[in-house]
Subunit: 415 residues, 2 copies
């Protein structure tokens, strides 16, 4: 791999700029995280950040709503906005020459949005529609509901909000969220592609240097849902969600945790895929993923199947989750490493992927890991390290949530 | 952009190899299309190709089912298999050094699969599970059902098959499909990335050169469904699908058609997004896409919303589809061009994207278009050309399908 150079600059107001020049691409991409995530939603008004994320795009700086949208499209920007627990995120990729103009627009969006009264209802309706559509998407719904039950609020609360919460929102509430949260400290801007780091730093200074830092109010911690639950839904299908504690991305043990989850669910030869899907044909889709927040993490596992096969699917899945601490083959680890290696190569070739990694690393670690470093950590993994991790963090303290026509039994034998 | 070199080689048995070396990447990717698509499914046994696509991966050449899966994972291959109307497709991307080994395995898969009797049931169950899961995914379901009504069978039949069809499948039927269809003529192998064209050609000769060509039986043409239809479904949501005829990828008028669909549904400033979603908040998701088969095409349009807002959503959507032939702004076309330009740059940086484009181009056109050529065609578009196309192919002869608690009225005023 060509050597990675990553330029880091923390401005006096706390905003962090991370730039990775990539010699072999014509594109450039950015990922801008600003501390206005759903954790800051007022209690009972969950969805405020989500509505803000719609509303904030409707005019900023000198441009009205339609003008802003067309200006972004004129740059050929492939863009995305979203809300996470702690940050609102804006990302985009386009030809490198257009990146500075795009960043100028996003500086207006996060610092000088119009938040026009007359567009509030449409913004709110958009989020309501999205939440209602989710009711028709049980695969996504079960995982949302699982997170509510495996993480305490506000971490487990869906970032999109709740229908009840959104209904209670007013322009004043959402505007207050914007005023209270968005500010340079904890704002992270990752840029990757055919860019000049000095030019990017000067541009960032110009666009964000005079943004005034102020304290962020902490959010309110809440409760988590029950660890065993069933949501009745008339359907021929049963959706199964299982969660158990693991270690976050910043933990020294993270790569071992990653390895264990990959033995379970990385690639077609992984255990869940093989045992639940290939061998028994129990379900179409089954996976486990390591869901890492900054300071806590859970392995989240999904299986969707017909109601008749749901109990067997749950039993087999739980058995596989537990069995991994009994033994892991050298060949299983070798496959994880091979998959990681090719995945790192692909990431390195995508400016969008690099920009988002830069910002995410800074959020989680306060520094950026190079792809070489990641590769070294993965290469250094041993079966023994994975097993030790699997024994320290077995599939215990389970949260099990099902969604479908009938509840299932969580077999005591596997607990 | 660096100049693209595309090496084309048609072997005597009809197999076509397309290679695009990419100097600036470490990865390599392939896309292998072999003529065993769902159009060849026996009538009443729809889903045979889909089950074959599961079954074919369960052992090939010297390797048993699990050995084959692990061998593919050992190569770090990010892989995908699927069934289209005319072809079964296999694609993968990994580090360039591993590509030859991957191609050896895929030569075994398409030429020497074991199709083991004892794994047939699990393969069939996998497809059944997938079809049942679709019942819970109304957004996907409505578009499947729309295709059934806007294209005659077998083109409109879902490539995954039907539950009734899959139930009737036996190992003999699926094996017969394999024997009848897969063969070198009409097989297309696209390769892109850090590869040597001469080496790729020698390898392809070795792997596929002695594969014997034979005639392909034509499929049986059938009927299309009703052009106005409603599928009752208890839900708070209504899913709307609209289709109308357009021109296929191979048509001289294709880029004009592409431009019109982009004015309607490319980017956030496009008409459907602006009028239906942003301005009125009628729905969360609305789009139109140009669905091109080899010799026919339809614009397929989707909107999903709450039952109460469904009629208004349908009315507004139809009005926008019709209104496009009345006038298009220079600014709208400029935005289409800007988006296309950045999208072409991104494609050029992805070996996986290039490999699949090579194979797709050959299938549709019998030749490969370079990205420069695509860019020139898009740059040459004028508002006048778009309007002429929109008038020749207006949103008439509509197929309208809804799915939800109550049927809607297709306003005669807009027809």
């Amino acid at each position: 791999m060509p050597e990675q150079q990553i330029h880091t600059h923390v401005f006096p107001n706390g905003l962090t700029l991370l730039v990775e020049p990539m010699a072999d691409v014509q594109s450039a991409a950015f990922s801008l995280l600003t501390p206005c995530g759903s954790n800051y939603d007022p209690v009972g008004q969950e969805g405020a950040a989500s509505v803000l994320c719609e509303w904030i795009m409707r005019g900023a700086g000198a441009l009205g709503s339609m003008e802003l949208t067309t200006a972004l499209d004129n740059l050929g920007l492939q863009r995305n906005e979203g809300v996470g627990n702690t940050h609102m995120s804006f990302s985009g990729a386009t030809i490198a020459d257009s990146l500075p103009a795009a960043l100028r627009l996003y500086a207006d969006i996060v610092r000088r949005p119009h938040l026009p009264e007359e567009e509030f209802d449409a913004s709110k309706l958009g989020v309501e529609q999205s939440l209602r559509a989710l009711e028709d998407e049980p695969r996504q719904k079960v995982m949302n509901e699982l997170r509510k039950r495996s993480f305490a609020a506000p971490w487990g609360t869906p970032s999109e909000g709740t229908l009840e919460g959104v209904t209670r929102l007013t322009p004043a509430v959402v505007r207050e969220l914007f005023e209270r949260c968005t500010q340079p400290r904890q704002t992270i801007l990752g840029i990757a592609g055919r860019v000049d780091p000095v030019q990017m730093r000067e541009l960032t200074e110009e666009l964000f240097g005079d943004w005034i830092d102020r304290p962020i109010e902490p959010w309110v911690d809440g409760l988590r849902g029950p660890t065993r639950d069933h949501v009745m839904q008339e359907s021929a299908q049963t959706q199964i969600g299982i969660a158990y504690p693991s270690v976050p991305y910043r933990d020294v043990d993270y790569y071992a945790a990653w390895g264990v989850v990959n033995v379970l669910s990385g690639g077609m030869s992984s255990r869940l895929f093989t045992e639940v899907r290939e061998r028994r044909g129990l379900c179409y889709s089954v996976y486990a993923t390591l869901h890492s927040l900054r300071d806590q993490a859970q392995v989240l596992c999904y299986a969707g199947t017909t109601a008749e096969r749901a109990q067997e699917t749950l039993d087999v899945t739980l058995r596989e989750l537990r069995r991994v601490s009994e033994g892991i083959g050298e060949d299983e680890l070798r496959r994880c490493k091979a998959r990681a290696k090719s995945s790192l190569i692909m990431q390195q070739e995508s400016s969008a992927s690099r920009a988002s990694s830069l910002a995410r690393d800074w959020y989680h670690l306060g520094r950026v890991t190079t792809l070489d470093e990641v590769r070294d950590k993965i290469e250094a993994l041993t079966v023994r390290a994975l097993l030790e991790h699997a024994r320290r963090y077995p599939a215990r303290d389970l949260t099990v949530l099902t969604l479908g026509p009938a509840p299932l039994e969580v077999s005591l034998a596997v607990l």
